[in-house]
């Protein structure tokens, strides 16, 4: 028993175990999603989290310890964002023909994303700091945290709301667009990129490469626009 305890005390101090756990959980989640034909509800992020959470709970591992291993994966979000340049470049011909829809849809989606969150939070009588934390939820995490902090929200709450928004968008986009009979992959991808940032973009890449390219553009443009419009909307709507 001491050997097992020693082994555990060694493993729990290295990044190896949580890095490996994360990769294995994702491979299992992705394998299931792939076998089922990527149905919207089998979201790989959500499934992976549901696999990892009980392991952390059973081993009484706190998030800080987990993140010491998982940070290497988290770090790659930066270069992956840069990598979105390639699908953008590959699709430049069709993008050039849809500049007007892109810009107007960006404004509409970005304003509705923040504005509806603010108005709904007001309607439900949520505390002001919760409302302010909610406003930037549709944009990519680093931008959302910065905005939240600047307008007086709680960045820790915003971080959770941003991820939940991404998962909700990734799960709802396919049934919603099918219901509306939208067949234009550019429009479908763009919508999920505006409303649900990188997690929505990840879903779009699973479904269709053109949708992925447009989701990537939407996410990048919305990172810029949200930081400009949220402070204005907050002033108007509160």
């Amino acid at each position: 028993m001491t050997d097992v305890a020693n082994l555990w005390s060694y493993l729990s101090t290295t990044p190896l175990i949580w890095l490996t756990t994360t990769i294995l959980a994702y491979l299992a989640a992705d394998g299931v999603a792939r076998r089922l034909g990527h149905p919207p509800w089998a979201n790989p992020v959500l499934l992976s989290v549901l696999l990892i959470a009980p392991v952390l709970w059973l081993t009484r591992t706190d998030y800080t310890t987990y993140f010491e291993g998982a940070q290497f994966i988290h770090f790659l979000l930066g270069p992956a964002t840069v990598a979105l340049a390639l699908p953008l470049w590959d699709n430049r011909a069709t993008i050039r023909t849809t500049v007007a829809p892109i810009m107007l849809a960006l404004f509409a989606g970005s304003i509705v994303a923040a504005g509806s969150a603010i108005l709904l939070a007001r309607a439900f009588g949520l505390p002001m700091e919760v409302l302010l934390s909610l406003a930037p939820k549709s944009t990519t995490a680093p931008v959302a945290l910065g905005i939240s902090e600047a307008i007086g929200g709680l960045p820790a709450l915003t971080a959770v709301l941003v991820i939940l928004t991404g998962i909700i968008g990734a799960v709802t986009v396919t049934p919603l667009m099918n219901l509306l009979r939208i067949t234009d992959w550019r429009a479908r991808g763009f919508a999920v990129g505006v409303a649900a940032h990188g997690i929505g973009t990840a879903r779009a890449f699973q479904v269709n490469p053109v949708a992925g390219a447009y989701a990537g553009i939407a996410m990048a443009l919305n990172a810029l626009l949200t930081s400009l419009i949220v402070p204005v909307l907050v002033r108007w709507l509160i």
């Binding site: 994360t22 990769i23 959980a25 994702y26 992705d30 992020v45 959500l46 992976s48 989290v49 959470a53 952390l56 706190d62 998030y63 987990y66 994966i73 790659l76 930066g78 270069p79 992956a80 964002t81 840069v82 990598a83 340049a85 390639l86 470049w89 007007a100 829809p101 892109i102 849809a105 509409a108 989606g109 509705v112 994303a113 509806s116 969150a117 439900f124 949520l126 919760v130 990519t140 931008v143 820790a156 971080a159 709301l161 939940l164 909700i168 709802t172 919603l176 509306l180 939208i182 234009d184 429009a187 763009f190 919508a191 999920v192 409303a195 990188g198 990840a202 879903r203 939407a218 990048a220």
Partner: protein, 117 residues
């Protein structure tokens, strides 16, 4: 693969330096994305060189969000007593935003195509 990773990190680094140096409200990686587009434009063969690595990376973009997703479970208590209300608001607001985006996109495209026809 290493060349591609070096290029991506280099673009991100240049982006971060520029953003911080000039106090621009934009994440470094987003500016890095714009820089990489400029490089792809300047070097016509670059796209094919970086495509294999980037294709794998973007096919598994979900994987990179798993640590942050686990963070949601780890920080669930920040949702306080408003958890269900917040989930409801997030769902409605996300659907509204997608409706507004897709409606505008398709509407504007139709208008332009009709005028062109």
């Amino acid at each position: 693969m290493l060349h591609t990773l070096g290029l991506l990190l280099g673009c991100q680094l240049l982006g971060e330096i520029t953003v911080r140096g000039f106090g621009i409200v934009m994440p470094g990686p987003v500016l890095g994305l714009a820089l990489l587009v400029l490089f792809l434009r300047a070097l016509p063969t670059l796209g094919d060189q970086v495509r294999p690595t980037i294709t794998v990376m973007l096919a598994h973009l979900s994987f990179l969000f798993v640590p942050a997703g686990v963070g949601v479970i780890g920080n669930f208590e920040v949702l306080l007593d408003d958890g269900l209300t917040l989930l409801f608001i997030l769902t409605l607001s996300t659907v509204f935003s997608m409706l507004a985006t897709v409606g505008t996109f398709v509407g504007v495209r139709h208008l332009i195509e009709r005028r062109a026809a």
